[in-house]
């Protein structure tokens, strides 16, 4: 059985206790999306401010458990300053890491390449979450919400 130390790494607790980029941004010009975790009722709002194709600011509001809060916090530092395309790649790498659970069920897909994981930096600390499948939704809540915001920002009528 995986132990708590796999889940609650020090860096995760640090981001939970000292969340980065908390706050709101005026909408517009920023774009905001809200996501729900149907399991526990957690809600998160992600504010994204772009200039051209670059993400110049990200802010986070809402509440959640240590995993969803720290994942959001780490995400915000990871994507701030990146182009939309670069951010999309980070999202996809992160979600790939989180889908190990699905693979375990299916049992037929290879492990993520360690190269791709290296890109994630601190976020790799969240890898332990996949050993706690119910918590995966906590870790991915902010990412899915952020991805929706990117889609809206990138949409032609924006």
């Amino acid at each position: 059985m995986p132990g708590l130390e796999d889940l609650y790494r020090e860096i995760i607790l640090d981001h939970y206790r000292n969340p980065r980029n908390r706050g709101e941004l005026p909408v517009p010009p920023a774009h905001a999306e809200t996501g729900f975790n149907p399991l526990c009722g957690d809600e998160i709002t992600v504010y994204v401010q772009t200039e051209g194709d670059r993400i110049v600011d990200v802010k986070l509001a809402g509440q959640g458990c240590s995993i969803s809060q720290s994942s959001a916090s780490m995400m915000s530092t990871a994507v701030k300053g990146k182009t939309i395309d670069e951010a999309r790649r980070v999202v996809s790498t992160f979600k790939g890491m989180m889908s190990v659970h699905e693979q375990r069920l299916g049992g037929d897909e290879a492990e993520r390449s360690s190269d791709a994981l290296a890109e994630l930096g601190d976020l790799v600390a969240l890898q332990g979450v996949v050993k706690f499948p119910v918590r995966i939704k906590c870790a991915t809540l902010s990412w899915n919400t952020f991805a929706q915001a990117l889609d809206a920002v990138g949409a032609p009528n924006h």
Binding site: L39, C40, S66, C138
Partner: protein, 409 residues
């Protein structure tokens, strides 16, 4: 007679094991209880000796299967004081029971502007079916409020029930633990000309129940929370209501005749049991009921009330203001559970740390999101008990909370 928990635990195979090297401290029976060996044996014995589809077979094992299934109906009905088996319908869970009320009685009787009264502490099972009907038909939902200490507020009952067609409330909140004054609400509802539906999912496993004494017109409960198997629930309703209601699910067993251009429904209760019923599950539920009857529901109630009192007292003593227990603080006003907040630690994190100590509690919105909004929280942690729990289980919960505090503070 008091419950001998050591002996009871031996009846539940799941407690034979350790989980992750720890004794299993199962405090999530409100989500789903564990099952005694007698329940598993009833189902295995059935499958191993006399399984066949029921009601139509003219051979010995099919007759026996039918007899056992109908006997299970009587036993399960009798457990809640429902003595006419025609009034006892097996569903797949209490959620289906409430959907049956909403789809069949609701769609036959309710239209735009008709008022259905719920409470602010309903489980989604007694909420979403009415929201669906509101969306589809324009019925109006009204919610009875709560007092500050989490009881049903009946101070404005007469006004709130005025013009209502149906009052549908839980007998025991699965979040607050609060027992509601069902009889008082039912009497007021009947006086106002409304029918009364009662969600007994958290009552029947824990408190001696008589549908007649409650004043209910419809009463639902669910097997897996009362030591029974998954896959079975019950709807009891007064015969004249069931007789007047159109069928809900259509198919085999629920008809007396089918033509290419129409059909006639079967007699009660089969009119509402379309398709092959949960036969083994009915037998398992009957065995669960027998197990509870052997312990004695009065004893079960006393045992669980004592555990609630112990939990409230000991946790408050250990943690003072660091723990906030939702709902009324006297054990007599609640069923077998407490929901709480602890030092601002998110319930998911609490539950995760507790699990490391073998302590299973539930964290989340408990399918009662409107109540969560009322409480101003996204989630709570909930510990709940059944016949196999004892004070050391509650102590283990307290010890694990100390550890959670260590990690997150």
């Amino acid at each position: 007679m008091a419950i001998d928990v050591t002996a009871v635990k031996k009846d539940f195979p799941i407690f034979d094991q350790e989980v992750g090297g720890k004794r299993l401290v199962f405090l999530d029976s409100a989500a789903s209880s564990q099952k005694p060996r007698a329940v598993l044996d009833a189902m295995d014995g059935y499958y191993s000796t006399t399984h066949a589809n029921v009601h139509r077979g003219v051979y010995a094992i099919a007759e026996e299967a039918t007899r056992l299934y109908e006997l299970a109906r009587r036993r399960v009905g009798a457990f809640v004081g429902a003595d006419d088996p025609a009034e006892v319908i097996f569903t797949k869970n209490v959620t289906e029971s409430f959907n049956l009320i909403a789809y069949s009685w609701g769609r036959a009787n309710l239209g735009r502007g008709d008022v259905v009264v719920l409470s602010s502490m309903e489980h989604h099972a007694n909420l979403v079916p009415w929201l669906q009907l509101a969306e589809e038909r324009g019925i109006v939902l009204r919610y009875l409020g709560l007092t500050d200490d989490g009881r049903l507020d009946t101070s404005e009952l007469e006004r709130e029930l005025d013009g209502a067609r149906l009052v549908s409330i839980t007998a025991c909140s699965n979040v607050l633990g609060t027992l509601t004054p069902v009889r008082e609400v039912a009497d007021a509802a009947h006086a106002a000309g409304a029918l009364v539906a009662v969600d007994g999912a958290q009552l029947v496993p824990h408190v001696p129940t008589e549908v007649g004494a409650l004043g209910a017109d419809f009463f639902g409960f669910t097997g897996h929370k009362m030591l029974g198997p998954t896959g079975i629930g019950v709807l009891w309703a007064r015969r004249e209501l069931l007789e007047a209601m159109p069928p809900f699910l259509g198919g085999g067993e629920m008809i007396s005749d089918v033509r290419t251009d129409g059909f006639s429904p079967a007699e009660l209760p089969w009119k509402f049991e379309a398709g092959t019923p949960p036969i083994a599950e009915a037998l398992g539920l009957a065995a669960a009921v027998e197990y509870l009857e052997k312990l004695g529901m009065d004893a079960v109630r006393e045992h669980e009330k004592a555990l609630s009192a112990y939990a409230i007292a000991s946790l408050t003593e250990r943690f003072g203001d660091d723990i906030k227990i939702h709902g009324p603080l006297d054990a007599g006003s609640r069923g077998g559970l407490i929901s709480f907040a602890f030092k601002g630690i998110h319930p998911h994190d609490l539950s995760q740390v507790l699990d490391e100590h073998g302590v299973c509690v539930r964290a989340g919105h408990h399918c009662a999101k409107p109540l969560m909004r009322h409480l101003g929280v996204a989630a709570t942690a909930r510990a709940s008990w059944s016949v196999y729990n004892d004070e050391p289980d509650i102590d283990a919960l307290g010890d694990a909370l100390v550890d959670a505090d260590r990690i997150f503070s």
